[in-house]
């Protein structure tokens, strides 16, 4: 996985170009996508799905109701919020999508309840004890790649997670 600079301006395809233009015009004049010239390593989970411990990682701006929301400014937010797998309630704040729908049914972007159901039905082993909530607008990716991402990776390894499920909003 090698981080590279993206294509020169206006080289992006489809919505990638539209969003690039939108962010630069409205939020962050120097915004560019962080691109990689090779894919992340792919490894298979060590245990079959029916025995696997699955962790949920979301970029929907999810957090516990009594925890702080992610920063909503032009610089974005690379931090995360830890959410216990047995959380009865979550809150959602994110400027990039209409969170009213997800507040009615968090499973649409943060399927923690659904994962618990799959565990109860024996379709997965269990749900990792902690889920992680990021907020998807992260124009400064360096701190995510160097700090909070590896921090979450270490926590997942400590929790003996077999598979991490990444869900955008």
């Amino acid at each position: 996985m090698t981080e590279t600079k993206g294509p020169s301006m206006s080289d992006y395809r489809g919505f990638a170009q539209l969003e690039y233009d939108h962010v630069r015009a409205n939020f962050f004049a120097d915004f560019d996508w962080t691109c990689f010239d090779t894919p992340s390593l792919r490894t298979l989970p060590k245990r079959p799905l029916s025995e696997a411990r699955v962790a949920l990682i979301s970029t929907a701006g999810v957090h516990l109701p009594d925890d702080s929301r992610h920063a909503g400014g032009a610089d974005g937010d690379h931090t995360y919020r830890a959410i216990p797998a047995d959380a009865a309630e979550v809150a959602l704040h994110h400027g990039g999508y209409d969170t009213r729908r997800a507040r009615l049914d968090p499973d649409v972007v943060f399927p923690l309840n659904l994962l618990r159901e799959l565990a109860n039905d024996g379709l997965i082993g269990d749900v990792a004890p902690t889920a992680y909530g990021f907020m998807g607008y992260i124009p400064h990716t360096g701190p995510l790649l160097r700090e909070t991402g590896p921090e979450v990776a270490r926590a997942l390894i400590g929790d003996a997670v077999d598979l991490a499920l990444l869900v955008p909003a």
């Binding site: 992006y12 894919p39 799905l49 990039g96 972007v109 598979l163 991490a164 990444l166």
Partner: protein, 89 residues
């Protein structure tokens, strides 16, 4: 990135052209609107079907960097189309 630290991952993507830039190890394309990634509010059948399909894909032999189209589309309204024109959140 988590994979490079030893944690197998599977991701959902709603925008393959952005995912192509980041090149995660394995992504599953679900053509749902932003904010309704798994499906519509209270549509538990679709949400569960998406979730299971994504988790099962994590056990496929797709090469690193693959974006697998799971075939889920959005027929309820034009929300996704409007979002992709930046005309709706």
């Amino acid at each position: 990135m988590l994979d490079d630290h030893g944690v197998p991952t599977v991701s959902i993507t709603q925008i393959p052209e952005i995912t192509e830039l980041a090149q995660p190890s394995l992504s599953c394309f679900v053509a749902h609107p932003f904010g309704l990634t798994l499906g519509n509010i209270d549509d538990k059948d679709t949400q569960r079907a998406v979730l299971l399909a994504v988790l099962e894909a994590a056990y496929s032999d797709a090469p690193a960097g693959s974006i697998v189209d799971l075939g889920f589309t959005w027929e309820l309204d034009d929300l996704r189309e409007r979002q992709l024109r930046n005309e709706a959140l």
